[in-house]
Symmetry: D2
Subunit: 294 residues, 4 copies
């Protein structure tokens, strides 16, 4: 397929590479220049603008937040103004439910198709084409995108016909992982101050009941206090918890654990966490117990 791919961060670059490798004709664009090099070597073309990248059968966006995606999507030079009628926008960023609804509306008015397909997985999983993709929108459109989704992920799981549902599921998933990080952080602070070896403790947990990615990925980082480099930076995780709470507020769903995480992320950011991995949330309890935060 003739594709546009906008957003070449750690995740986006790896995902675009897999599309190129799968034989698609991919035109890539990043707002900050200089990120396209290795993709061009692989066979991608570099688009000079969002508008240029939009001349495609399908355009994938993978951007850091609502602001970035809004800037790309709206305006005369934007995706909506330049995507051909009938073409598809596959929105893979973690963005708000509100923005996803806005995009659905705007694309419908422009006679374009739109699905939301946010992902679970860190950059290494993106590089390996092993992402989990949550996808929502018109079933026929999702069907048409299967070759793309299959090139980027190990599984693409549909969650309904309303694109924003996929965004909400993604936000809720990051909330669940942040909750696991906070819980491990408190548990590690407790057993560590009792004199139990932190790494042995995490090994025990992950070898038995807690043998899933949130624990196997972040447990060792918390045990070791190793929060750099950031594979998923704390400000992005904070954003996702904030967006989950925003959705919860508009639906009137009290989420006290999400609020607790929100406040602790905020504290982490103030205390220098801007450049740390979100696993650093799990360092606060050790710090509060009198240990070195990292």
């Amino acid at each position: 397929m003739k594709l546009g791919f906008i957003g070449l961060g750690h995740m986006g670059a790896a995902m675009a590479a897999n599309l190129v490798r799968a034989g698609h004709d991919v035109s890539v664009f990043n707002r900050t220049p200089g990120r396209a090099g290795s993709l061009i070597e692989l066979g991608a073309r570099e688009a000079s603008s969002v508008a240029a990248a939009s001349e495609a059968e399908a355009v994938i966006t993978m951007l850091s937040d609502d602001d970035a995606l809004s800037q790309v999507a709206f305006g005369e030079e934007g995706l909506i103004a330049n995507l051909p009628r009938g073409a598809i926008h596959v929105s893979m960023s973690s963005v708000s439910v509100a923005l996803s609804k806005l995009l659905a509306q705007a694309h419908a008015q422009a006679g374009q198709r739109y699905i939301a397909a946010p992902v679970f997985g860190r950059p290494a999983m993106a590089a390996a084409g092993k992402l989990f993709i949550v996808v929502a929108g018109d079933p026929a459109t999702i069907e048409a995108c299967q070759p793309l989704l299959g090139a980027m992920g190990q599984k693409a799981i549909p969650i309904g016909a309303e694109p924003a549902a996929a965004n909400l599921v993604k936000l809720s998933g990051n909330f669940l992982t942040a909750a696991a990080i906070e819980a491990m952080g408190e548990a590690v602070a407790l057993v560590g101050k009792a004199g139990i070896d932190r790494q042995t403790y995490i090994d025990l947990l992950t070898a038995t009941v807690f043998n899933a990615a949130p624990y196997t990925t972040y447990g060792p980082l918390i045990a070791q206090g190793k929060f750099e480099p950031a594979a998923f930076a704390a400000p992005l995780a904070y954003k996702d918890v904030r967006l989950a709470l925003a959705a919860a507020e508009s639906l009137r769903v009290p989420m006290p654990l999400a609020s607790l995480l929100h406040d602790r992320f905020l504290r982490l950011l103030v205390a220098g966490g801007e450049h740390l991995d979100w696993a650093a949330l799990g360092g606060l309890a050790t710090q509060d117990a009198g240990g070195a935060p990292r």
Copy 2:
């Protein structure tokens, strides 16, 4: 080995049966009579008292809480007064760090051996001999108990020479699971109120990133609001969170997420949760969002 087994609840009866099947000579006792029937059919003998069950090379206790274990362990008719010198007490209950330290002291004074070996797993896992056992104490004593632990669990993982360490790890593990239950409860309330099918949502989570027991076991129960019968009753889970907080308080480790869980368990118990599974903690968020709690 000649064994005593005290405590024939859902868990204990299944564990004792596996010891009988493994060829051990097991004398069983339960404070409330009438629980030994099927074990006797399997080949166990029924002891008439704690003292009688204590005449063994090793005695396993599997009781509901500190009070129950204290009543069994202390006093003239108790385990400590009647266990032979050099014999082993394998304490598998979820009890407090403080009681475990007290037992270690009392057994040492009586010339007996003592290890703590609490378990992770629900009754079905106990029946299948698939429990995860966390074990701490003198290494030679643990070694001597391997045939017993191997008959009851799929894995016995050592966590140090201080028996109370195993108890703390067990408590912390139940705290982690309770945190996952609360997090799922809030997430399910959120996506459910947004119109997403709750079961499909849990299926998606557990088929991807959250493929570990706390999610696969409790997620469906939360999605369905199915909290009876209780495989692990809410009051026992509340007790474990309380004991984790008691240990945290004595070590001066602030655990805000554990406090949140404590208060929500308390609320659940007041609202009729005494007979529900601890998964019911995950029903509060749906209730607060205006849905049926179950």
Copy 3:
């Protein structure tokens, strides 16, 4: 002075009446008609529109929230488009810091003057001219408004030259009162379940250490579970806590107690609290302890 007064709810009507009584020439307007009757009897004139009410030396607005004030302020028929150059907008509503900054900018561009002067006090205090007014903005403009503020309140306290500062102080004050309500709610639930008479308890507190309005006003309501009629409705209090948290988020100030209040207000609203006084926040703890909520 020739005045416009926009917003004739419980508070606004009482405040406008005091301005009329003080001899000002007051033109009143309410978006929902039929509220001006008694004011006209007192000597006020009824304006037919916001634009008509804006033909004044100073216009006072007393509206329920950001939306209401925005609709009055902006647009061709709005206050900013119709207030004479040099005239003053005295904004007395409890609104967001963000909106207050927007208004400051818009009035400056239109050559108008703008101060924020939100109030503390319930309708009875408004009727008695006993409000406490927090005022911020250009000192000369504040000086010019003293006759107005003096007619409505017992005290007008300046908090700086930036109007939004007064709005933030007002929001923070309602947060402080909500915190006192929640604290009393938990304390009353505790002593009540211990068998102590709830009213006697509140009398004791307010006769000794806690002899200030948040306790003397709301304590008896909580002790009696009397949450209707609403003098200040729960949704408005929820709004103020939400706006305080929004300001905190944009300034990066973690406020865990404010988050706790936010979630409990949300729960209260879902459970039928829309029409209750915000004192009903103090009924949740009694409900969670197994008592009648009210």
Copy 4:
């Protein structure tokens, strides 16, 4: 009256002095020697032991916690063993509900009378005889003690015939004040980071709606970050919140705000708060917002 007074800390010494000044025959004792000097100058006698101080019509105890009071009350050399039949123990310390019930029982068995009369007020109020005293127990016994209570406090307010009720009310009162301190701490962090002068802000609050001791006493300390010297030390306040939560747990009353305060006090103590005034709880929010804690 012939009195014993046990416990000569900041509070006790000032209270004992007022009893001497009121003409009573006071025998004083402190476990750490060297505190009686100025009282002897006033006319008190120094007792050589608890037993010696117990030879009185009434003995007042004013000790720091459950442990201290238990050591004084129980044992062969203790108050209960040495107080004459019919004599009165006036327990004024802030202690647990559980200990108060134990004392009631023990004094009844010994044929002695017992009332609980904990106080609100800081050392300066104690010195001025201006304490608020909450008193519970047999009405005739309370009546007999009025001359003593009147010498120490401006008001003695009865709260029932069960002595432990007074202890619970005292604990709940300190919880309420701690809640006000935390709330002010968050509010001051918020307005301070917005550029508003912190002292002016507190002046505004306390001159208007929040004109009660918890705000007028602690607000300025929080605004200035002045937490030394400690008039009421953080560990004592932590203890009171902990005891309120212990009572709440045994009564099954969820108190989420009390839990929040508990965790923040714990964090404060770990971070060096042992010697600070409990107002330092109100410094955490400023610290979390990136400001100097004090």
